[in-house]
Subunit: 222 residues, 2 copies
């Protein structure tokens, strides 16, 4: 299938893990999207116009010309996989697919939603978290998620150069997205050598390298 | 494909939303699983034996005889869909599929992970939440997730008797799972008439009815 560069629009922000995931998947599939910046720090995700596209006030939203807005990064990854099956983000066999999706969900569903702006807002405004308490919260959930993922990646025979065999896929995208956000926030999770190795391999690939938060529109100059 | 009743084992607890989702999906597919109880209130999910199956200490874990343990409810739902495609939990068309997966993720990935036992543990032990603060937290995230889902379901043309057309699917399973847990915790989210209508339709189906938390092993007697 051939998709022209203008057939996708991605509502995006430079540092979000979920936007990173979609950028990488588009890149691996050889698809391009015109990006529209939604400044999370300015609260643009809660504007009336954006809420019509994404009532959860989350990023990203992907628009495929002529179709309803698509939200939720894991759903979008599955969509891109079905739209353009090669290169595959999921292995062909049933039990391999559930493994990759499970690792992806450990990061994207059980870890990342805990450190999003909407959670930060509640914890700082309603609970009274200061910067240190927020940092401890972030650290705790990154450690919980990555330590559990490390345990699997280090012990399961299906792990290869990447999370599952020697081709990058959905689990790697989610892993690298969480690590990318950790780097933005200067948070480190100790004792995760397999994850470090896998993410280094990912970052050598053009699709991952091009999605690095610091390279995106709106990123602070170093 | 024919699966005997003993080919699946489900590590489960009576009230968890993620276990509910897998119970419903197995039921809709006509598959059966032998259940093994993991008492969350007693912390059994953190036993060494269980962490070997599920390093995230989450429920459920599904064992398909002869294969590695399967974790993460959304990954398991996708597995069951691929193992036994009928009745389908996802529509056939690409844009329908992304819609259903997106609504499923709004509930299962962006809402439910915020109110799990591991989050409760951190908020009560480390942050010092009392019962009222925890209840307010639960309420806030249920309201956020369900209100956003309601907005979509009420406004999008694809909504039918169920979340997407007139057959129950993955979005309905996630929606009903969150409502089931809210009922356990006696939490109500106002102004969600479409969700209420859809969940009532779900609960009339045997697979949903049989998954009701109060009917499971270990549920308190009323």
């Amino acid at each position: 299938m051939s998709e022209s560069a203008t057939s996708f629009e991605l509502y995006a922000f430079w540092r979000t893990a979920a936007t990173y995931r979609v950028r990488v998947a588009l890149g691996l599939k050889g698809l391009q999207a015109r990006e529209i910046n939604i400044d999370l720090d300015a609260g643009e995700q809660r504007s009336e116009a954006y809420l019509k596209l994404n009532p959860m006030a989350g990023l990203p939203t992907l628009i495929h010309a002529g179709h309803p807005p698509m939200t939720q990064s894991l759903a979008i990854l599955e969509f891109l996989e079905e739209l353009q099956p090669t290169p595959a983000l999921l292995p062909a066999d049933l039990h391999g697919r559930v493994r990759v999706r499970s690792i992806a969900n450990m990061l994207a569903a059980d870890t990342h939603p805990l450190i999003t702006p909407r959670v930060r807002k509640y914890l700082t405004s309603t609970v009274g978290f200061d910067d240190a308490a927020w940092r401890a919260w972030q650290q705790h959930w990154f450690v919980t998620g990555l330590t559990a993922a490390e345990k699997r990646l280090a012990s399961e025979a299906a792990t290869g150069t990447f999370s599952h065999g020697d081709q990058p896929g959905m689990a790697d995208i989610c892993l690298a997205s969480v690590v990318a956000v950790m780097q933005v926030f200067k948070i480190e999770v100790p004792n995760t050598p397999v994850i470090e190795r896998i993410v280094q391999h990912c970052q050598q690939l053009p699709a991952f390298a091009a999605a690095a938060p610091r390279l995106q529109y709106g990123a602070p100059t170093p």
